[in-house]
Symmetry: C2
């Protein structure tokens, strides 16, 4: 199998961290165009017409896209060190928090990034080969939502050691990738979110993440 | 267990169809405010602070939100008539298509609806208790994306009987809920998408959906 990512983009990073946490030996390839690293390569887009990252290419030539689908597939193949739940209820609570982190966190910071960064003028949304204009109001809305996301997970992390309960899970990986992407865009964790700051330090120090 | 929905909203409908297809006997409750059916009830929002639908309340009082997490939980409890895959690769391909249908179809039509309907002025996005202004450019973008979504799934349905392959799955349910919501907003399936029109007729005639 081959895993394809794209530079520092947060969705491929979810898969890369998942693989590292579980200790899966998987070669990771770059999907960007060597001549223009701000674009996916033509070869990649031909392979995967949905034009999104990450992508898992199977040994039979079939492919699986979408970070969560890739990670769930790897979890089934490599059940040791489970990150998506050990029983149906735990799995469901992890998926709920993963989706909230994706929808309210990762999507919010992506709205800020894609609708303001000059490199992405005309590419306001991932996955399209047409012109998608940037929408300044959407960047503003993303920024507002991001603040509410920090408040929401600060409450949750005040009650639990990790986002979906008392074990590190895929939901933490998604939230970390959203927040690190936010920090890289100079949108740091608000100072009053002490639980998030504490959690961020603990999670960032994990060998699979700091290494 | 109790399943909560909200009138004709597409995400609760995904869960309702899933339950009907599998023949699970589950009581379904309405989350809207009886005095103001355009709003979730205060009681519901207190129970589920993420303010989204559907919601599954377990017998132990815990709850699971997010349609996909709820359906995956029910699939684990009631494995007969599998709708989320019988083996890891099939499961992954269904999840990939389900997420594409959610992201490129359901989110697109929701962007049109939430950013144009006068009942949702100041409520441009589900899940928030703050004012979220409508963004007319986002409605336009949603409409544009919806056209590309129809083209994409028309190609896929020209190659396969159903969205994720040759068996009806949760991905078909999500695409159907997105498309029926689109039709209800007077955005019909484009006439040149013959494969989608054929699939829509076949899927709509299933007893769990037409009944």
């Amino acid at each position: 199998m081959k895993l394809y990512g794209w530079m520092t983009a947060p969705n491929p990073r979810r898969a890369k961290i998942f693989v590292a946490e579980k200790g899966i030996g998987l070669e990771i390839f770059e999907a960007s165009d060597p001549g223009n690293p701000g674009e996916l390569s033509a070869e990649y887009c031909e392979k995967y017409p949905h034009r999104r990252v990450p992508l898992l290419e199977l040994d039979d030539g079939d492919w699986i896209g979408e970070a969560a689908a890739i990670c769930r597939y790897l979890e089934a193949l490599y059940p040791d060190k489970p990150l998506m739940g050990r029983a149906p209820k735990e799995t469901a609570i992890i998926e709920m928090w993963d989706r909230l982190a994706e929808w309210e966190g990762l999507m919010a910071v992506s709205e800020v990034f894609r609708n303001t960064h000059k490199l992405f003028a005309g590419r306001g949304l991932a996955g399209y080969d047409r012109d998608i204009p940037q929408i300044p109001e959407l960047a503003e809305r993303g920024n507002f939502r991001l603040g509410l996301f920090f408040d929401k997970i600060d409450k949750q992390l005040g009650r639990h050691e990790f986002l979906a309960g008392d074990r590190f899970s895929f939901a933490d990986i998604t939230a970390l990738c959203a927040i690190d992407f936010s920090i890289s865009r100079r949108l740091p964790i608000p100072e009053n979110c002490a639980h998030v700051i504490d959690w961020h330090g603990r999670v960032s120090a994990r060998p699979a993440i700091s290494g």
